[in-house]
């Protein structure tokens, strides 16, 4: 960890957010097995440092565009665990009334613009949000998360070009976890360096160890300073998902050894151990966090259980807006 030591508050906050994601998702797996949650569910376990480090640097007016692997982003952004769990249960109290599920978390209050299940589909959206901010002279930035698999899509290219051309305040965060479903990066990219692809578009860029939350946090701080001045930035975070791609994945495409190797660099353990060694955090901090988080997660399940089903008669609501044109 070559980045400066955080103070206690910052360290605690980062650890807390990562633990929240981890425990929340572990509970999701439980609830999936109990068939309370269905459909596709993609876990962020192993990648917590990325969302945590980046979103920690945002202001309330900033916007986020994410993928179908977005529980972590939503939680860190402040979408309540209750509303996320209820969403995955399909309850009307969910952050998308139960219509979106795991892949489509939305929250207008925090400018959390989704959850998008089309790989690469969020990229154009992000530059549009940024364009709106720019045209209205707002200092907000938009952060767009996407996997390294999305880089091969035409929309990556079209979007980065526009971001560079129009100098839009977007931070592109590539969560490079080496696999797109079961396809390793070497089968999909003729050049495997992601960050430097920004050069082709005049988009400043950097690579950071995505398992190191402090490094991500610091890289995001710098990147966002650029972005807030109205210049796009591409930040590649090298990370790894510890779990299967989704709940339907037999994981025949990678070895247990490889997974085990990466787990040695668990972002939570690594960070806590370093902070403990540096005497910034102590065991009791972790214990307190675990207790707090366990409570939050349990409550979210209770909240979701207690939730209600949207009446079937509401099925066709919101295909179009209910407020009619003035």
């Amino acid at each position: 960890m070559s980045t400066p030591l955080p103070d206690h508050d910052q360290a605690r906050r980062l650890l807390w957010q990562m633990v929240r994601i981890r425990r929340f998702e572990e509970k999701c797996v439980e609830m999936y097995s109990a068939q309370k949650i269905r459909g596709f569910m993609h876990l962020y376990i192993g990648e917590e440092a990325v969302a945590t480090g980046v979103i920690d640097q945002l202001l309330p007016e900033d916007a986020i565009v994410a993928t179908y692997r977005e529980h972590g982003q939503a939680l860190v952004r402040g979408v309540s665990a209750n509303s996320i769990m209820a969403e995955m249960y399909g309850k009307v109290e969910g952050c998308a009334r139960g219509r979106g599920g795991s892949m489509h978390l939305f929250d207008a209050k925090t400018r959390f613009c989704g959850g998008n299940a089309i790989v690469g589909g969020g990229l154009p959206l992000a530059i549009g949000l940024a364009l709106a901010d720019k045209m209205q002279n707002r200092k907000a930035v938009t952060v767009c998360f996407f996997g390294e698999g999305a880089v091969a899509e035409g929309e990556f290219h079209e979007t980065l070009n526009l971001a560079g051309l129009w100098q839009l305040p977007v931070l592109f965060v590539c969560e490079n976890n080496l696999y797109a479903m079961g396809t390793a990066l070497r089968y999909t990219e003729s050049k495997m360096e992601i960050a430097s692809k920004g050069d082709g578009y005049g988009v400043a860029n950097a690579v950071v160890d995505g398992m190191d939350v402090l490094a991500v946090n610091e890289a995001a701080r710098k990147a966002i300073a650029t972005t807030r001045e109205g210049k796009p930035f591409l930040l590649e975070c090298r990370t790894y998902r510890f779990r299967a791609h989704s709940m339907f994945d037999a994981e025949i495409y990678r070895s247990r050894d490889e997974v085990a190797e990466w787990k040695k660099r668990d972002p939570i353990t690594m960070f806590f151990d370093a902070m403990k060694a540096a005497k910034v955090l102590s065991d009791s901090d972790l214990e307190a966090i675990e207790t707090e988080v366990a409570k939050e997660v349990d409550e979210s399940v209770a909240f979701a259980e207690a939730g209600t089903w949207e009446p079937v008669s509401d099925l066709t609501r919101f295909v179009y807006s209910e407020v009619t044109a003035s």
């Binding site: 979106g100 613009c113 589909g121 990229l123 919101f318 044109a325």
Partner: protein, 334 residues
């Protein structure tokens, strides 16, 4: 304001331009973006002069990147702007269809009512100019399949001007298909033109013998055909659908109940076009009103060819409309 107290002679192209200009003057959040809209003046000269008036920020040339600039329009709409995105022609809109269907059309419902997308997407449509297979699609009816969007097909100067204003006021994604061949159509824009409704079909010509349901470039063809038919004593009613999604069933069924014989004229390919859906709705809602099965005059099911005579044969024409009507009103069963 470019609006006046006097009706003004102009082309359909001018009317669309006036619509854009007035919308931009009225609301600083409105902007136009697309390929060649600024420095070229628009592929069909619709936006000629607007760059000079509004500047590069608001009349914004884009690279050839249909998916990204349509998606950017969606994002800008979420961010509080009122973008008019021009896709040069509907032929190229296929490149942006993911953004249109999976994002623009789905976002409001999928987010449980939180994120509406007030984007307007304009595109040219249709054949008839010998532009061959890849530049002659009429996809407006096909787009009508997608829940979450509205599909408009202006065919009068009033609609060319006014539908845009209404579409921009609409909180949801609206697609406007402007038939290429209509741009040169001359007419009068009424004095002080304003927004027009985007929910109803309109009877453009009254008649008691047969109903022609149509829209876009087939509207003037149908009107011409009815003049000829009138000479034969056939009084055809012409309904301009105007809006292909949502369809105005009430106006359609009212005319069906009046004439009991229906012809649909649509420049889209026959199978699975809007003509099919109208057939189905008449079947469901006015079956017992029909004296004869509904008939269709549509585009032939071919990639539209370049050669003039083949293109002519592939598209609905005044003659084919007349023949179909004659057949419908003839005393024998089809």
């Amino acid at each position: 304001m470019s609006t006046t107290d006097q009706p003004k002679k102009m082309t359909f192209r001018d009317a669309v331009r006036e619509g854009i200009r007035d919308a931009m003057k009225k609301d600083a959040c409105v902007f136009l973006m697309g390929e060649d809209v600024a420095h070229y003046g628009g592929c069909f000269a619709v936006s000629r002069g607007l760059l000079e008036e509004f500047g590069e920020e608001r009349i914004r040339d884009t690279p050839l990147a249909e998916s990204a600039f349509v998606g950017a329009g969606i994002g800008a709409a979420l961010g509080g702007m009122r973008p008019i995105v021009e896709i040069m022609t509907c032929n190229f809109s296929l490149l942006a269809l993911d953004q249109i269907m999976n994002t623009a059309a789905s976002l409001l419902h999928m987010s449980g009512g939180q994120f509406n997308v007030p984007i307007v997407i304009r595109m040219a449509t249709g054949g008839g100019k010998q532009l061959a297979a890849q530049h002659s699609h009429s996809l407006e009816g096909w787009y009508g399949h997608i829940p979450g969007i509205k599909v408009l097909t202006p065919a009068t100067l009033e609609d060319g001007y006014g539908m845009l204003a209404t579409a921009l006021d609409d909180p949801d994604p609206v697609l406007i298909f402007e038939n290429q061949t209509l741009y040169v159509m001359e007419g009068e824009l009424p004095a002080n033109p304003g927004p027009v409704d985007i929910s109803s079909a309109k009877v453009r010509r009254e008649g008691a013998d047969v109903t022609i349901l149509t829209y876009g470039a087939s509207l003037p063809k149908s009107i011409t055909a009815t003049a000829k038919l009138e000479e034969e004593g056939i009084h055809a009613e012409v309904v301009d659908l105007r809006v292909l999604r949502p369809l105005d069933d009430a106006t359609i069924m009212r005319s069906v109940a009046k004439t009991h014989r229906v012809l649909i004229v649509d420049e889209g390919w026959r199978s699975g076009g809007i003509s099919a859906e109208i057939n189905a709705r008449i079947m469901e809602q006015a079956f017992y009103e029909l004296d004869r099965p509904v008939q269709r005059v549509c585009a032939a099911e071919v990639p539209i060819p370049y050669a003039k005579h083949l293109e002519h044969a592939a598209l609905p024409q005044v003659e084919s409309i007349i023949a179909a009507v004659q057949n419908l009103v003839s005393s024998h069963h089809g």
